[in-house]
Symmetry: C2
């Protein structure tokens, strides 16, 4: 049996994926993969997701340059969620000082809104203007 | 507008939730909440999920004693995923030596299967016999 067959794909043929930064342990983002995306991720060693909005494979960083190098892939006890340990790469030519940006808003992590006293507050800074990321 | 209304609930009225251990940064588990579960989590300061298999609120630890104390709740850029920073409590009477067990298999984290050379391998130990957890 193929390792891809052990994943319990949902009714849309997808599996939720958590991307966690190697080293810091920060949870960077959450996305989905289909079977092809997971196979591609394993083959490349870089995160390839399934874009639900665009309905196509999405090699993370293909537009932004914010590639995710995959160090480890884990699966949960129900075989229906994946966890990737990644290094979040910046845009070429900006190394090594480039900040680690996973979010399309130009922030480090997508989880930048914190619950405080009955409201969601944005607590993390924009590290790079999104307009200069997607040009 | 109520803070609960900012969450983009999916077609089943649910939102995916990642539970991450405060301190270690380990991703412990993945589950879902509905509106009532999220409201209860905020009120109690302990994780309350929606059990899809049992179709009812699930106060994590209600049977196992493995309560999750919630330090922080975060929401992602699309308002459709939550991240909890938690302390994973053990069973009463076992503190302070009790290991941190989030998984129903008796392991620290639900993500104990690692992809290696075309296969999923169980790489984390069982810390406590599940039969002694759910008695």
């Amino acid at each position: 049996m193929d390792w891809l067959d052990f994943v319990k794909w949902d009714r849309d043929g997808l599996v939720p994926v958590i991307a966690q930064e190697q080293g810091s342990g920060d949870v960077l983002m959450f996305a989905f993969m289909n079977r092809d995306a997971l196979a591609e991720t394993a083959r490349r060693g870089e995160a390839v997701y399934w874009s639900r909005s665009r309905q196509r494979l999405w090699h993370k960083g293909e537009e932004s340059g914010h590639i995710q190098q995959v160090h480890e892939m884990r699966m949960d006890c129900d075989n229906d969620v994946l966890l990737l340990k990644v290094t979040q790469k910046g845009q070429e030519g900006q190394e090594p000082a480039a900040p680690s940006i996973a979010c399309h808003t130009g922030r480090h992590s997508c989880f930048f809104q914190r619950y405080e006293d009955g409201a969601w507050r944005t607590v993390d800074p924009v590290l790079k203007d999104p307009e200069s990321i997607y040009k």
